[in-house]
């Protein structure tokens, strides 16, 4: 890999994006295209596939909240989860408004961070 880095020179960071980032993620989308061929958009299996996708996305949210990266990791877990709850309350209170949920959740989190992190 280091030989490859020397060979690529200034293009190395772009190559890393393609080889280490793009291909490993895109392979799932490509496989999805192949598997979706011939599937009717009203077929029962799609209902299951959609449930799996939604579950996976919620799982990603949980992982991002439980083990976040640096500045967010400085906020205690209760603060992160509490801020999402604040956002959800605003979301439902204001007739399922995504922007209200995002803004209120963000305000809660930024306020908590300002209080906790010195």
């Amino acid at each position: 890999m280091t030989d490859l880095a020397a060979l690529a020179g200034p293009l190395w960071p772009y190559l890393v994006v393609v080889l280490v980032g793009f291909l490993p993620t895109e392979i799932w989308r490509m496989l999805g295209v192949v598997l979706a061929r011939g599937l009717d958009d009203r077929s029962e299996i799609l209902v299951w596939v959609r449930a799996v996708a939604t579950t996976l996305l919620a799982g990603v949210v949980a992982k991002l909240l439980i083990a976040p990266s640096e500045p967010l990791a400085l906020v205690p877990l209760a603060g992160r989860l509490g801020s999402v709850l604040v956002g959800l309350l605003a979301f439902f209170a204001l007739r399922r408004s995504v922007i209200a949920g995002v803004i209120c959740g963000e305000i809660a989190l930024i306020a908590i961070t300002a209080l906790v992190v010195r």
Partner: protein
């Protein structure tokens, strides 16, 4: 993010698959407008931090923007630049990124049939699939079914290209803001991805099955992380939780 009202004008003018038709063009602009109403900016702000992560590992701004255009999955981008900063081995990093992105498989399978048209080639379908990420997926599943089949693709490309374009530009902006953002704001930017995912999922949820999937995914992910580790936890969460949510939804439908 309400359904737009001005869509009725794009009615009958063309029924053929040609994308340059009048109805196709206005559907494209409509998608663009719907994206600029909010989604593009939220996704864009949530990848602002990717720019500064790339800056921290000494990569150029162009590579950071390319990562948004090509990878188009902020959790994977965070793993990439976080891993590079920690000095992780690249093949191992590729495997971790691959396992973290399994969601794109069911997301693609469930969206593509909505955008399929007669005579559509494999290359076009691969291009369609490339734009799939949380926002594009949930918004498309929500809006496309009510749209005439021949308008959907133009709308989709308008929405998806705008969202990814704004996000790439803001990734570049984040690169130059690296180190200047105060801690609370920096934490807020990282928090954008999970909080926006939560709201988007909640906005897209209509049935008991949808809500079960969200709750099960959220609850099971940490359980499986503890049971089988950080690599295959999402796969197990999706299969077990998703199947359970599907069965709950089927019982519900049967009862009605």
């Amino acid at each position: 993010m309400k359904r737009s009202a001005s869509r009725c004008e794009t009615g009958d003018a063309s029924t053929g698959p040609q994308p340059r038709s009048r109805s196709g063009r206005s559907a494209f602009w409509l998608g663009m407008r719907d994206s600029l109403m909010l989604p593009a900016w939220v996704v864009g702000l949530s990848v602002l931090g990717i720019g500064s992560l790339a800056h921290d590992v000494g990569h150029p701004a162009g590579a950071a923007m390319l990562s948004t255009l090509l990878i188009w999955a902020s959790p994977a981008q965070v793993i990439l630049y976080g891993g590079l900063a920690a000095g992780a081995a690249l093949p191992a990093l590729a495997v971790v990124i691959c396992l973290s992105s399994i969601r794109f498989l069911p997301m693609t399978i469930s969206l593509l049939p909505l955008l399929r048209r007669p005579g559509q080639g494999l290359a076009l379908q691969l291009l369609i699939a490339h734009y799939i990420a949380i926002t594009v997926w949930t918004e498309s599943l929500r809006r496309l079914p009510a749209m005439p089949a021949e308008e959907r693709l133009a709308y989709y490309f308008g929405f998806a290209n705008t969202t990814i374009g704004v996000s790439a530009l803001l990734t570049g902006l984040g690169y130059y803001l690296a180190g200047t953002v105060p801690t609370p704001l920096g934490a807020g930017l990282i928090f954008l991805t999970p909080v926006f995912f939560t709201m988007t999922l909640s906005a897209g949820a209509r049935t008991v099955a949808d809500w079960s999937a969200i709750l099960l995914g959220f609850a099971l992910a940490p359980v499986f992380t503890g049971l089988i580790g950080r690599d295959f936890d999402l796969l197990a969460t999706g299969l077990v939780g998703g199947t359970a949510a599907y069965l709950i939804g089927r019982r519900q439908r049967g009862a009605r």
